[in-house]
Assembly symmetry: C2
Homo-oligomer: 151 residues x 2
């Protein structure tokens, strides 16, 4: 309540602001996708498939930052709703390449527009140069953290 004696340095840490921004983005995306009856992982799955058709479950999981198990249930849900299709048998190895259906493509189009609006709102006021620098800095952070300590 009262002004802290020890200056609130938490809010100044890059990591703290990063987490804050990620949470805010997640909440906004959630709100934007709710009317479309899609969760964020579901949308991420559709978006990835739209840009790279034929991705396997494991590849989708890595792309959406979740585990294979979680992506598996996402895919089952989307398949039950008729948004994606997976072959019964693996054409090669054990991978089951997933593809969007026509309905899936329609849903993706609407969801993608909604998410693009969120991103546009998020970056409002940031010049293209600022956005580019932001992307570059964040990419550098990812590289620094996953350099060797990967796992």
């Amino acid at each position: 309540m009262s002004t802290p004696e020890t200056v609130g340095r938490v809010e100044e840490a890059v990591g703290y602001v990063l987490k804050q921004a990620a949470v805010a983005l997640r909440n906004s995306m959630d709100a934007a996708l709710r009317p479309l009856h899609l969760t964020v992982p579901q949308y991420a799955c559709l978006e990835l498939l739209g840009q790279r058709p034929g991705l396997s479950n494991a590849e989708l999981a890595r792309g959406a930052f979740v585990t294979r198990q979680s992506m598996n249930v996402v895919l089952r849900g989307l398949e039950a709703r008729g948004l994606v299709t997976r072959p019964e048998t693996a054409p090669r190895g054990r991978e089951l390449p997933t593809a969007l259906t026509e309905t899936g493509r329609e849903h993706l189009q609407a969801a993608s527009a909604a998410v693009r609006n969120v991103e546009k709102k998020m970056c409002a006021g940031l010049t293209p140069a600022h956005q580019r620098d932001l992307r570059k800095s964040l990419t550098a952070c990812v590289r620094n953290l996953t350099e060797d300590r990967q796992r």
Copy 2:
């Protein structure tokens, strides 16, 4: 597998990189705190209390980006381990101001150093000016997203 026809624009989106960075940071912090037997929410709680003693459960929850219920179980765990203390009765309203114990301060010191190392590693190669710009841009993103569409 093959090079995608539709250029992989996902990886270029600010939101995607933001999420990626947040996940990488979370994983690195997890790994850094594991030897200290602390989870990220637990550390966040200690850090907040170290800088602003007397925070209530709800205030800690907001500061750590979790619900009051989650922070409640975190506090119970920390209290059982003797790292924090809470009064039996609320001195004002229903708020139970939490404070660090001596052991808690020791744990916080070690954890804070570990996390600072992670953040230092993350920002390696970024000039102070870059870091300042990064913080400013992220703060602007948060403000844009939580402006009115709050909640």
